[in-house]
């Protein structure tokens, strides 16, 4: 009971004291006589709070991060999606730029030879090493492509069309082991044939028909042209002689030529749908033969 009275007395005294403090502090306002108390406490706790704040600032940041997590997660997902889209767009743009470059080159080459071409893009390639070397392009019969048309790109001769479907066509490259194309040496106009050696081989075999003709590495070869420009139009760059084999006594001379076209990265090609228009040639005749009376006429 004494304890209760003591605590009641304490409560009363302290309540009174706090009310006194409140009154004094409230009445005093800014010039409160309790100012020094506040100042002392402020400097003591202020420094402590300062130190603790420096230590726990990262904790606050971490909690901030945790609280923002759902929003941030959504944002991250959105940004990631956007990132993927942008990256795809960027890649597409880069690819488009590359294709634009090869397309321009192709058009320039085609214009030089006055070939009329249908552009196409390689969409598939047969990849059996050592065997056939063919590609599928995204241009077909609907685009005016027919079998045995010449396929070129900005660098030179690519191959010929062997199969045409409405929307796509199959092109046998000149590096195909079964392919043979008639060619000329650019300067001496000597005639030869290039055979492909298959995919994965950077060179083609070149056979010069005249074994006595001069043949040196670095000589350029161009397409010879086939009958009615099929399958090969004339004058397209094919490659350059790299190595000449010494084959004494044979009927033909053999060399190895490196194609101009980089077949490993072939993309934009053009199908020559119309060879350069030839100047109209009139038939040249040696004049009318002298009229001789035939036997029957004589006999009459």
């Amino acid at each position: 009971m004494r304890d209760t009275r003591r605590s009641r007395v304490a409560l009363g005294v302290l309540l009174g004291f706090s009310l006194l403090l409140l009154t004094v502090d409230h009445r005093g306002g800014p010039d409160s006589p309790l100012g020094p108390v506040r100042a002392a406490a402020a400097s003591f706790f202020g420094s402590m709070e300062y130190a603790v704040a420096a230590v726990v600032a990262p904790v606050g940041a971490a909690v901030d991060v945790a609280r923002e997590a759902p929003v941030a997660k959504r944002r991250i997902r959105d940004l990631e999606e956007e990132n993927v889209a942008l990256r795809r767009m960027l890649a597409a743009n880069r690819q488009a730029l590359v294709r634009y470059g090869s397309m321009e080159k192709l058009l320039r080459t085609a214009a030089l030879g006055e070939y009329k071409i249908v552009p196409g893009q390689v969409i598939a390639r047969r990849g059996q090493p050592g065997f056939e070397d063919t590609v599928e392009i995204d241009a077909g019969a609907r685009d005016g492509i027919k079998r045995d048309m010449t396929v070129m790109n900005g660098d030179g001769l690519v191959g010929r069309v062997v199969r045409v479907s409405p929307a796509t066509s199959t092109v046998v490259l000149i590096t195909d082991p079964g392919s043979a194309a008639g060619v000329r040496l650019e300067t001496s106009r000597e005639i030869g044939v290039v055979h492909g050696l298959g995919k994965g081989r950077a060179v083609m075999r070149f056979q010069l028909l005249d074994s006595n003709a001069h043949l040196a590495p670095g000589t350029r070869i161009v397409s010879f042209g086939s009958e009615s420009n099929r399958p090969y139009v004339p004058g397209l760059p094919v490659g350059v002689i790299e190595r000449v084999e010494q084959t004494p006594g044979e009927l033909t001379r053999t060399a190895y030529a490196r194609p101009y076209v980089r077949f490993s990265s072939i993309d934009v090609v053009g199908v020559v749908v119309q060879a350069p228009p030839r100047e109209a040639r009139t038939a040249v005749s040696p004049g009318r033969p002298p009229v001789r009376p035939t036997a029957e006429q004589r006999g009459r």
């Binding site: 304890d3 209760t4 003591r6 605590s7 009641r8 304490a10 409560l11 302290l14 309540l15 004291f17 706090s18 009310l19 006194l20 403090l21 409140l22 502090d25 409230h26 409160s32 309790l34 108390v37 506040r38 002392a40 406490a41 402020a42 706790f45 202020g46 402590m48 709070e49 603790v52 704040a53 726990v56 904790v59 606050g60 909690v63 901030d64 609280r67």
Partner: protein, 160 residues
């Protein structure tokens, strides 16, 4: 004596943690638990009305003086003083400490703040604000209550 010093240290640390850490946590509602109030309740519940009243007053006064503060000195002292007395009295009445008792005292203490503030004519205390803040404050305080009462019980040692 040693227990008194550790309690004082614990209160000091709580005060600094309260203003430097807890109040800055971006918790829902923008408010945080009042560690000191719960500690005053715990002290009262462990040591009786006299100790509860005196420690409540002292802790409140220290809390009043500690920056940042924009209320008249004695506000917290008054509230904590009454809360400490209430906690001590309830211990003396019931004869033993329980978490339910602590929660009751914490709830009363939490509600004492706006009441005293209104009595003092603090114009910041508007009914709408009180109605919005008080439930959350109660919730937070009651959440930390069991932990702090247990902790202070360990520090002070129960005395029936």
């Amino acid at each position: 004596m040693a227990r008194g010093i550790s309690t004082g240290l614990l209160v000091l640390v709580s005060l600094v943690v309260q203003v430097s850490v807890l109040n800055r946590l971006p918790l829902p509602g923008g408010i945080a638990a009042d560690l000191l109030l719960v500690e005053v309740v715990a002290i009262g519940l462990c040591r009786g009305a006299f100790t509860g009243t005196v420690s409540g007053f002292v802790i409140g006064l220290v809390s009043d003086a500690a920056p940042p503060a924009d209320h008249p000195l004695g506000y917290y002292a008054l509230v904590f003083c009454v809360t400490g007395f209430l906690a001590g009295r309830s211990l003396e009445r019931s004869g033993e400490t329980s978490v339910a008792l602590a929660m009751f005292c914490v709830a009363v203490g939490t509600m004492l703040f706006p009441i005293v503030g209104l009595m003092l004519g603090d114009e910041r205390i508007a009914w709408g604000l009180v109605g919005r803040m008080l439930p959350l404050a109660l919730l937070y305080n009651l959440l930390v209550c069991p932990l702090l009462v247990w902790l202070l019980g360990r520090v002070l040692g129960r005395r029936p």
